[in-house]
């Protein structure tokens, strides 16, 4: 599936929820299913800055696709990163770079998008895209 298709699928899932409780409970569930980063990559270098909780992200190329793994010490943050990774992992770096992120608004997580928000969703998106740029350069 393309990034856009996956995003639409996520938006569909979230549209079924009636209130924030259900959305958060689902995010917490998603957090538990996050593709876990290997312990060796949980280094200070891989920590995304700007988050009140710790977030580690690792990226590696498999063929022409970029695969992300991650972890966080906070469960809601894990849920947010799980949603991002589901949308962006296993995609071509070029597509990740070009991807639109407005689906975050549509699933009711807009409040997390503010750059001053302590969970640093903006920093996470930026970091995933930076990895994509780096690997795109390598592919070229």
């Amino acid at each position: 599936m393309s990034i856009k298709e996956i995003q639409e699928e996520i938006v569909d899932e979230f549209s079924m929820f009636e209130d924030w409780m259900q959305r958060y409970e689902y995010m917490i569930e998603l957090g538990k299913s996050l593709p876990m980063i290997k312990e060796q990559y949980k280094t200070d270098d891989n920590i995304i800055k700007g988050c009140q909780s710790k977030v580690w992200v690792h990226a590696e190329l498999e063929g022409d696709r970029l695969v992300f793994t991650a972890d966080s010490d906070a469960i809601i943050t894990k849920g947010i990163i799980a949603i991002l990774i589901r949308a962006f992992s296993n995609q071509k770096p070029k597509d990740i770079i070009d991807a639109d992120t407005s689906f975050i608004d549509e699933i009711g997580l807009k409040e997390h998008l503010s750059p001053t928000r302590a969970n640093g969703l903006v920093s996470m998106i930026k970091q995933l895209k930076l990895y994509a740029v780096a690997y795109q350069t390598q592919l070229n």
């Binding site: 924030w20 958060y24 409970e25 917490i28 909780s53 710790k54 469960i75 302590a118």
Partner: protein
């Protein structure tokens, strides 16, 4: 349970913001240690200033300027009276606690020599650590730290060991922002004076709860922010003993702080204007005075008694939650509860509480050394004010329980 020493419902009516809803729930504001809410009387004072006598002070001959000057200087006198300073010129208006600390730290640059020692406490806010580190870098002075124990108290025996004739300055907060511990500042000040060192006390967290008497304390410098005590942001006070303020050089140059200026030489104005360069936060200073009037009308004894009862009730109810640990459990503390729940991240708890309309602070509270001491990433901090209620404590507790269920 709580013996109401004043009419809490009528007090709550003084604070318009307490009527609002957050995420569909009534606001339960428990982030008072970060900033307090503003009573209508203070809001009215701000509106009145800009509606009726907004003007620059201390130099205009016209009526508005004189009116504004009079009210601003009255505010200084209210502050002087509140903290019982001997003279009004010992009260310097600042932009807040951080400004006051930096003003003093900067002033000591010329008074310290290499090898001199500065003592800070382990319970400090970053704003009371970094300026002194910068001062040490400038002067070659050495920074020493009074350690803390698990209860969240300073280890006074270690403090006494650190003191020597090399000690020139001691800095400590009156109340810890992260834990609420009330520090034994009287003892800290006396011991420092015995070796000839000056003492600056950061009163930011104490001022909303405890009326400090700077003469009785015999403190050399005391700093506060208005916004922690029902006033606006961007204004605060530095109290300094006159002899010290005369010794310190001006912090910033500009208008207002000069006596005479020529390109060859400038002579500085007398206290307090020497430290008040430029147009000050006139409205803020006046509103600070109004905030003190408001709090004094309620009375600090009544406030302290009421908040203590809230603290005891909240402590007891929170500790009934399985796996909840409170950091800083000394008896001498203000109404601040810093806690974690085993296995849960403070950020997660804070996010759910926000969704339920409960405002708390999460994180390291600008006091990373304390978090490092407890080996935790941060805490959830609920900090109470005299306008909070027992019912709000109940909402906090049930919300924490709900967050725990969702997150576990």
């Amino acid at each position: 349970m709580i013996q109401t020493v004043f009419d809490i419902l009528s007090i709550r009516k003084d604070f318009p913001i307490l009527n609002r809803k957050v995420n569909g729930y009534p606001l339960v504001y428990l982030d008072n240690a970060a900033t307090s809410q503003t009573p209508q009387k203070v809001i009215d004072t701000i509106v009145d200033y800009y509606s009726n006598y907004n003007a620059n002070i201390h130099r205009g001959v016209h009526t508005l300027s004189q009116e504004a000057t009079d009210v601003y200087e009255q505010a200084r006198q209210k502050i002087q009276k509140h903290f019982n300073a001997a003279k009004s010129q010992e009260i310097i208006f600042t932009s807040g606690t951080t400004h006051g600390i930096n003003l003093v730290a900067n002033g000591f640059t010329t008074l310290l020599e290499k090898g001199d020692e500065i003592i800070v406490s382990a319970l400090e806010h970053h704003s009371n650590i970094v300026p002194w580190q910068m001062l040490c870098e400038r002067t070659g002075a050495v920074l020493k730290v009074i350690p803390m124990n698990l209860e969240g108290k300073l280890v006074m025996e270690e403090y006494h060991k650190l003191l020597s004739n090399r000690t020139k300055l001691v800095f400590c907060n009156h109340v810890s922002n992260a834990l609420g511990t009330i520090n034994p500042i009287e003892k800290i000040i006396t011991a420092a004076h015995n070796v000839g060192a000056a003492v600056l006390i950061d009163g930011a967290q104490a001022a909303p709860h405890i009326k400090a008497d700077v003469q009785k304390l015999d403190v050399d410098f005391y700093v506060v922010s208005a916004h922690k005590m029902c006033g606006p942001t961007g204004v605060g006070m530095l109290y300094g003993k006159e002899e010290w303020l005369n010794k310190l050089p001006p912090y910033q140059g500009g208008g207002e702080m000069i006596a005479e200026v020529s390109f060859e030489k400038t002579t500085y104005a007398d206290l307090p204007h020497k430290f008040e360069a430029g147009t000050p936060n006139i409205c803020g200073g006046i509103a600070f005075g109004a905030a003190l009037d408001y709090m004094n009308a309620i009375g600090f004894d009544a406030i302290a008694q009421y908040e203590h009862e809230l603290l005891q009730y909240a402590t007891q109810e929170l500790l009934a939650i399985d796996g909840l640990r409170i950091y800083g459990d000394t008896k001498e503390k203000t109404a601040v509860i810093s806690f974690n729940i085993e296995g849960l991240h403070p950020y997660d708890i804070g996010s759910i509480l926000d969704k339920l309309g409960v405002a708390v602070r999460t994180g390291h509270h600008c006091a990373q050394p304390i978090m490092d001491f407890y080996k935790i990433p941060g805490t959830v901090r609920a900090s109470f004010s005299f306008y909070n209620t027992k019912e709000e404590v109940d909402i906090l507790v049930s919300s924490v329980r709900r967050a725990k269920t969702m997150l576990s």
